[in-house]
């Protein structure tokens, strides 16, 4: 870990690699994050509308507020992180694992490259930078999903929904979301890099490390999610 954050040989090469990783993680994960977040927001709105209508005690415009709060505090960061643990985590672990067993990491070592710094540092930097951006996008699309489902289902009007979305907004919720996102980005990248970088063997071991990266990342994500909520809420 120490070597992963030590001084780079040539900063330009590290920046280039960081941007490549950011593009892979960010652009590559956009479709799945967008689809899942939109439908999570939509289904949340429908579920709340169903429950509110049966109670008949709560005005329907509150749904906008509930969807916003749920997306910011819980659904967007956690669901996004679990999706990214599956997609990005397995990708990182298998990429590094393949580089290890095909001696590509040895080749870098012999050239004099600080391999943990070059291979792990940019991935972690990119994940910590990109995951919060994806989560912000997930929040936006989730809220829009709630609007689309609710207005489409005639539970509320557009004006009512966005009145709810704006009602009682607290910047502190966004702060908690960003703390979670940064921590989740760190967890996914560091666990996956560790599992991939330390692979020994062949194809079977690469598969195992990839699976372990996803499983351990997901477990750490849900534990850290609880700890952050417990400490900050």
């Amino acid at each position: 870990m120490y070597r992963a954050v030590s001084k780079p040989e040539k900063a330009a090469m590290y920046w280039k690699e960081t941007f490549r990783q950011a593009k892979d993680i960010g652009i590559g994960s956009l479709p799945i994050i967008a689809i899942v977040a939109t439908f999570i927001g939509a289904v949340s709105a429908v579920q709340f509308a169903y429950q509110f209508s049966s109670l008949n005690l709560v005005p329907m415009w509150w749904i906008g507020s509930v969807v916003r709060k749920a997306m910011i505090l819980e659904l967007a960061p956690t669901i996004s992180a679990l999706l990214l643990a599956g997609k990005v985590g397995s990708n990182i672990a298998s990429e590094l694992g393949t580089m290890r067993v095909t001696e590509q990491i040895d080749a870098l070592e012999i050239m004099g490259v600080n391999t943990p710094a070059y291979l792990i540092g940019p991935k972690m930097g990119a994940a910590i930078f990109v995951v919060p951006m994806l989560v912000v996008l997930a929040v936006f699309l989730g809220i829009m999903g709630g609007w689309w489902a609710g207005v489409g289902g005639h539970f509320y009007t557009t004006a009512e929904y966005f009145k709810g979305v704006q009602d009682g907004f607290k910047g502190y919720d966004v702060f908690i979301m960003m703390v979670k996102s940064v921590l989740f980005g760190f967890i996914i990248s560091s666990v996956s890099c560790y599992k991939g970088f330390t692979v020994q063997g062949g194809a079977v071991e690469i598969g195992q490390s990839s699976t372990q990266a996803v499983v351990y990342s997901s477990i750490f994500v849900v534990i850290v999610n609880f700890v952050v909520a417990f400490l900050l809420l």
Partner: protein, 256 residues
């Protein structure tokens, strides 16, 4: 010149190297030969620093790398080029980017200078019009040549080749062997080749070290090796009945 002195290396309870000492001369192709599992790859990995020997030391022109710190060792590594058994080319980079990688990482050359150097190295290994191709689009022999081009792009003082002929047909193997020999002589490089290919031994073995069960068993030139009449080295060289027959016939012809 590279010297190794009393190198030992164990993995758990298995002692793979039992005090190997040897000298590898500059401007020559120094071959390490031996059966599979004899310890030749471990010797090579200790020499390039991928494995730490348990005891003994390794001198690169008098510089003891076993006692060096990480940053000092990095400086020596910049003088090393290595051709891997599986070539270890970076799959996500084109041929040009693969060869240029050490220059991008460690040199202050302009983009034009780097391209000139890359083209020179690719030309030196007889590869033209392959700059934009990816490793997955190349044949085994072409990958080896790209590996050699990448190994020499930084003008190394030491070149290590791990099984350079593995997976190649006999004709391509000879081409690769000659390329290694030419480059060694042209740039006065200390070249260490790890092989069990007898064609390589006879073709480019300026100096040959035979490792058997973790110890140096024999040392000499490719001319001396044919004088061997018995023992482990004889069994290794003349492993096939076909070669043994040829040798007996040669003896018979000489006696007549």
């Amino acid at each position: 010149m590279i010297e190794i002195k009393n190198i030992t290396k164990s993995f758990g309870t298995a002692q793979v190297l039992k005090g190997v000492s040897a000298t590898f001369e500059s401007g020559k192709c120094n071959l390490i030969i031996g059966k599979s599992g004899s310890g030749k790859t471990v010797t090579l990995k200790c020499m390039v620093g991928l494995l730490e020997p348990d005891s003994g030391y390794i001198l690169f022109d008098g510089r003891n790398i076993t006692e060096m710190k990480f940053n000092e060792r990095k400086e020596v590594r910049k003088e090393i080029g290595m051709l891997f058994q599986g070539t270890a080319l970076f799959d996500s980079l084109s041929v040009q980017e693969n060869v240029s990688f050490p220059l991008d990482m460690f040199s202050n050359m302009s983009a034009e200078e780097k391209l000139d150097r890359v083209n020179f190295c690719l030309g030196r290994v007889n590869l033209v019009n392959t700059n934009k191709k990816y490793p997955g689009e190349l044949s085994g022999g072409m990958k080896k040549r790209v590996g050699i081009a990448r190994a020499i792009v930084m003008n190394p003082k030491y070149l290590f080749c791990d099984e350079p002929n593995s997976g190649l047909d006999p004709k391509t193997s000879i081409v690769i062997d000659h390329l290694i020999q030419e480059i060694t002589e042209e740039y006065n490089i200390t070249t260490v080749v790890n092989t069990h290919d007898m064609n390589s031994v006879m073709g480019i073995g300026d100096k040959v070290i035979f490792i058997h069960e973790g110890s140096k068993y024999w040392e000499g030139t490719n001319k001396d090796i044919l004088k061997i009449t018995d023992g482990e080295l004889f069994d290794f060289i003349f492993a096939s009945d076909f070669l043994k027959d040829l040798r007996l016939r040669a003896h018979f012809e000489n006696d007549k």
